[in-house]
């Protein structure tokens, strides 16, 4: 048998070894060709009397990453074409047949009569793990990188090749739903405990173990095809089922606010499937899969969270002509919370860190923060004692600037004050080699002006981290007017090394993320003053898809900081640039009531020493009128929260602050949690259509004010019937 993506060898025991090894790819993925070849193998194994059974393994470091998500976009395009040519139902029928092909091939494998075992090395996720689940025996390597899982949910899909049905027949329904909802990657031991694999073996022995299972008489019959099979949680309509399903439906809403059709499809698929014979259950799963594959949420999430994010991580915006930089040592100025967080992620990535502060004690404090962070990881079993020691050994706290001499990159993270920043920059300048790239982690001050204090503006750049640094995945890399390509390349290489995702932003007040976030928080303030019940503001924001309500977020950021930013804007840009009612609200909170936010346990919320935060009853005083909650248009509140951010993102694009829609989208989701199901701020606009978005902005503008005014770029795009991804397609190609 001759295949492109596999090779087959049958040994003297009559066991076929199918090795998956796609040419020209570092990772095996499932493509239509792969599906065809698996089908041919199954036919061959079933037909050939001399073959007793088959072991599937991978010829690469990893088993497989699952379906090739990049092909899904063309599938959608084909569907649209078929719809025009053949009509809706016919096109959908074809699409359904196509979407279930993988599931059918796996079922053929499972029921062909011969035993299939799989030997899993490295990562085996998504459609590849569904292949494993269809095999009758699963051996996994005990190596450190071995993982199984069904992460489809993270890109708006769900396991549609038998995954929901087989998982729900391998474990208790509650556990199955949790696994499918979370989409986590699971290590071998946990996988064994969950019944997901049968055996763990050293990497070199997995194929042998799989073969042994077959030669020892392993049967080619799945448990659910045995007459004696019983569902692990019994029937859906049973006392046990009543313990599971009502809560599962409720928890779905709690976790998603009903914004994620793929998660709901998991519930449907399992609920309906558990009441049907297995083959019919697979067909129903496929029906849901075909529906979800065509959902706008899946398209948006795949594009932003898989494709665009991958492209940005691989350096889509990196100037190609600059040779790769390999930074060994990073200098960090300022050992406060930010500086320490940066030191921690830098050292975690294997780089040496010189952590500098005014005096030794202050610098030591910064290292102590790193110690706490890594110790927490050890406690959670995510790192070992050796990891901790190695990491801490890489961080040298000191007050002595001469320690910076060997740094390939210096990051300044001191107090947001021009004079303080200028002083440390100059001090560093004195000891640094000419040409050293210097980055400021400012969130409010223009990079171009800070660059002047460094003397080499072409080597000066902004690297804007978000707090808490160890958790937040986004980094804004900010270009000053004179920032050169080498500085940009160095910054991007560094961000890649610390495993974060960069977006490249041009210098402007608030850069990108904070402008959107600022609008979001302001909308919450305005609603509060207009008499919307405070809890409704917070809850509806979450229902709109945001991770935290605007008032809670403001408390995290600190109210005095928000006030300072507004006052600075007023000073620099004039009173028309700010909303005086918002200024007044914050002033009253901060000055009159001493409420600074989470940091002093008093903000829009009260933070008791024990228990959960609760909204401050004193907010009542800001509401001279109170709106009747039953008469408030919830859908409109949701729109206000998302539109105020999206329209700001459009302005940011118009001003050339962000130049690539992928960066705006990726940045909005991983930076500030903008409704992930939408695909990000610009996908939100594209998704509803620019003309519809402009109409919505106009409608909100008339009701709530000019902050909703659509910028010219949107009006032009609406006229020309453009989308962001259409308009900037050329640019995205050029830089990719």
């Amino acid at each position: 048998m001759n295949f492109v993506n596999f090779h087959v060898e049958t040994d003297s025991d009559g066991i076929a070894l199918l090795t998956w090894d796609m040419p020209g790819r570092s990772m095996n993925v499932i493509t239509p060709e792969v599906i065809g070849e698996i089908e041919a193998v199954v036919d061959h194994v079933a037909a050939e009397a001399s073959i007793k059974g088959c072991v599937i393994t991978s010829g690469k470091d990893n088993f497989s990453g699952g379906a090739d998500l990049s092909m899904l976009q063309s599938v959608a395009a084909e569907y649209q074409k078929a719809r025009q040519e053949k009509g809706e139902e016919e096109a959908t029928k074809l699409f359904f047949e196509r979407a279930r092909r993988l599931s059918q091939v796996y079922r053929m494998l499972e029921t062909c009569g011969k035993p299939f075992a799989i030997a899993i090395n490295g990562t085996c996720v998504g459609g590849a793990f569904e292949l494993a689940l269809a095999c009758h025996y699963r051996v996994i390597s005990d190596d450190d990188k071995a993982r199984v899982g069904l992460p489809e949910i993270k890109v708006g899909l769900f396991p549609g090749a038998g995954g929901t049905q087989r998982i729900a027949r391998l474990m208790q329904t509650g556990d199955a739903l949790q696994m499918l909802f979370k989409g986590e990657q699971i290590r071998p031991k946990a996988a064994k405990a969950m019944n997901l694999v049968h055996e763990i073996a050293p990497a070199g022995e997995i194929v042998a173990k799989a073969k042994t299972w077959i030669t020892a008489g392993g049967k080619g019959v799945a448990p659910w095809d045995e007459k004696s099979f019983k569902l692990p949680s019994g029937k859906v309509f049973s006392a046990q089922g009543m313990m599971v399903w009502p809560a599962a439906n409720a928890i779905y809403r709690r976790e998603t606010h009903d914004n994620y059709p793929a998660a709901k499809a998991i519930l449907h698929s399992v609920y309906e499937g558990l009441q049907l014979p297995f083959d019919l259950a697979l067909r129903v799963e496929s029906r849901w899969f075909a529906k979800i594959l065509r959902s706008p949420e899946a398209a948006a999430m795949i594009r932003t969270l898989f494709l665009s994010m991958g492209e940005l991580n691989k350096g889509a915006r990196r100037p190609a002509h600059v040779p790769a930089t390999a930074i060994k040592q990073v200098g960090i100025l300022g050992a406060g919370f930010m500086g320490a967080g940066i030191a921690y992620v830098t050292a975690s990535a294997g780089m040496d860190v010189v952590l500098i502060d005014q005096d030794q004690a202050a610098a030591d404090k910064g290292k102590e923060i790193c110690n706490k962070l890594i110790s927490g990881q050890v406690l959670k079993g995510r790192a070992t004692g050796a990891d901790k020691e190695a990491l801490l050994a890489r961080i040298k706290p000191t007050a002595d600037y001469t320690g910076l001499a060997g740094a390939g990159l210096v990051i300044e993270a001191v107090f947001e004050d021009r004079a303080v920043k200028a002083a440390v920059t100059q001090k560093a300048r004195e000891v640094l080699q000419p040409g050293t790239i210097f980055a400021s982690n400012t969130s409010t001050l223009p990079i171009t002006s800070l660059a002047q204090t460094y003397g080499e503006p072409e080597n000066f750049i902004g690297i804007h981290f978000f707090s808490p640094v160890e958790k937040m995945l986004l980094v804004e890399v900010i270009l000053g007017e004179k920032t050169g390509d080498r500085a940009l390349a160095t910054a991007l290489d560094y961000v890649r090394a610390i495993k974060k995702t960069p977006i490249v932003v041009h210098d402007s007040r608030g850069f990108y993320a904070n402008r959107c976030v600022g609008n979001y928080i302001r909308e919450g303030h305005i609603m509060l003053l207009a008499g919307v019940p405070p809890a409704m503001i917070e809850n509806v924001a979450k229902m709109a898809g945001m991770p935290v309500g605007p008032l809670a977020l403001n408390d995290e950021v600190a109210l005095d900081l928000a006030l300072k930013i507004i006052e600075a804007a007023k000073r620099d840009l004039g009173p028309a640039a700010i909303d005086p009612t918002q200024e007044n609200l914050l002033k009253t909170m901060v000055v009159e009531h001493g409420r600074y936010g989470r940091k002093n346990s008093k903000g829009f919320y009260d933070y008791p020493a024990q228990g959960t935060k609760t909204l401050w009853p004193g907010l009542d005083a800001f509401q001279s009128t109170k709106l009747d909650p039953d008469k408030i248009d919830i859908a409109e509140l949701k729109q206000r929260f998302l539109v105020t951010q999206a329209v700001e993102a459009a302005r940011v694009i118009e001003e050339g602050v962000v130049t690539d829609p992928r960066e705006a989208d990726v940045g909005s989701i991983i930076g500030f949690g903008f409704a992930p199901f939408s695909g990000g701020t610009l996908s939100y606009i594209d998704g509803m259509g620019v003309a519809n978005f402009v109409a919505l902005c106009e409608q909100l503008r008339q009701k709530f004010g000019d902050r909703f005014a659509p910028p010219k770029i949107l009006i032009d795009m609406a006229k020309a019937d453009e989308t962001f991804y259409g308009r900037f397609a050329e640019r995205m190609k050029r830089v990719a």
Binding site: M242, P246, A250, Y252, K264, H268, N539, M543, P629
Partner: protein, 418 residues
């Protein structure tokens, strides 16, 4: 021309709509819905038979006149399944010719059964019917019949499904009733029920449940705790906190009513309706049927209505349906002498009173399900009888009976003495 002809015909028909008169009402006492309850040994069929037989025997009813029996039952499975009404018609010796049908609209089933039975009369298709209901919660169990609503994601998610108790807590939180408010109400329910019993106000309706030898098993509502006071209630732990927090239902409540910061769980065993066993039946007929029986009606069904209400709060249907039925009847709140609002949970009644700014002197004057229990399928029929007895005792004319219902519905009936 055609149009006016048709409206004339309608006019004609309206003039001739037969009235549905109430000729009798009986109920069993309510037994604690646990294995140690006095009615636990009595089957669902036995309970239904008891009340049908009482209707037949106390009025020396000629069952040849009976056209149909409609019984409400909320968990019609197992011994309560199939068609319990037909089975009971036979065991109560109504004769082979009397059919029966069982209906289910959750907690209002007993009242809906009466409305259905009355509608058959009003439609002119039947002359004499029995409406009522039965539930042995101790034997069959609440929720035993399953159903798509809490379970199937297609409806559970869309309708913001929560257990009733969480919805009751949501109502209290949303409309501002404190733990003290609901406990106070529960104490008064107990006191009113105790007083009603001590003055024998239910004597015209209660039929004791007896064993096969005629030995009395229960002749008095068993769930009552007349000594209940604020202090004894304060000791009780809220019943729905775990469910709300860990089952995810609090979050569902907040999604449906986002002005609520956090659901405050204040309902417990002492201010929720008791789980009990029991049955009730009402004899309804046309004026002619009354003449045929040579009996005078005690009252009539003046109007009834059903409505769907906001499904997350679920239990506010009585407010919506009361507006609807009053409008249908061309009446106002002032035209109603007594209100019976099922005490599924204290907050349901408090919300009803709040929405209509009603003082408690006309509302649930003899206590309710918090004190005496809520045998799901039977309660509606019990409440109608309680109202009728009380109207007669006080010499008053009109009463409105209403119940909240799972999945967000309301049923209401207005009766009038004749």
């Amino acid at each position: 021309m055609l149009h006016s002809l048709r409206s004339n015909m309608n006019q004609d028909r309206e003039d001739k709509v037969p009235e549905a008169f109430i000729y009798d009402h009986v109920r069993t006492p309510r037994g604690r819905g646990k294995p140690d309850g006095a009615l636990h040994e009595v089957s669902t069929l036995g309970l239904a038979t008891t009340v049908l037989r009482a209707i037949k025997e106390r009025g020396d009813l000629d069952t040849h006149l009976v056209d149909d029996i409609v019984l409400g039952c909320v968990d019609p499975v197992g011994e309560a399944g199939g068609d319990i009404a037909r089975a009971a018609a036979l065991t109560a010796d109504y004769g082979n010719h009397v059919p029966g049908v069982q209906i289910n609209r959750f907690c209002a089933s007993g009242l809906d059964a009466i409305n259905f039975a009355a509608a058959q009369i009003m439609a002119g298709q039947h002359s004499l019917t029995v409406g009522g209901g039965v539930e042995s919660m101790s034997r069959v169990g609440i929720g035993a019949s399953g159903g798509a609503w809490p379970v199937d994601p297609a409806i559970a998610i869309k309708s913001y499904f929560m257990p009733q108790g969480v919805s009751a807590d949501l109502i209290a939180t949303k409309y501002g009733f404190s733990r003290d408010d609901v406990d106070q109400y529960a104490v008064s329910s107990q006191q009113r029920a105790a007083k009603a019993w001590s003055e024998d106000r239910f004597k015209n309706s209660i039929v004791p449940v007896r064993d096969i030898n005629g030995i009395t098993l229960l002749d008095r509502d068993e769930h009552m705790r007349p000594s209940t006071d604020m202090q004894s209630l304060a000791a009780l732990k809220p019943s729905f906190t775990m469910m709300g927090e860990q089952g995810g239902f609090d979050a569902v409540a907040v999604d449906a009513h986002p002005e609520v910061e956090k659901v405050l769980h204040i309902h417990h065993a002492g201010n929720s309706s008791g789980i009990v066993d029991g049955a009730a039946a009402v004899l309804i007929g046309s004026a002619e049927a009354g003449r045929a029986m040579a009996r005078k009606p005690r009252g009539k069904i003046r109007a009834f209505a059903n409505i769907g209400s906001e499904p997350a709060m679920m239990l506010t249907g009585p407010v919506d349906v009361t507006k609807k039925v009053l409008a249908r009847a061309g009446m106002t709140l002032d035209d109603i002498d007594l209100f019976e609002v099922n005490e599924a949970f204290a907050s349901v009644v408090l919300r009803f009173a709040q929405a209509f700014d009603l003082d408690m002197t006309r509302l649930n004057v003899n206590g309710g399900a918090i004190a005496m229990g809520h045998p799901l399928g039977a309660t509606g029929a019990m409440l109608l009888g309680t109202a009728l007895d009380e109207l007669e005792r006080l010499g008053k004319a009109t009463a409105l009976i209403t119940l909240c219902i799972g999945a967000g519905m309301g049923t209401a009936t207005i009766i009038e003495r004749v």
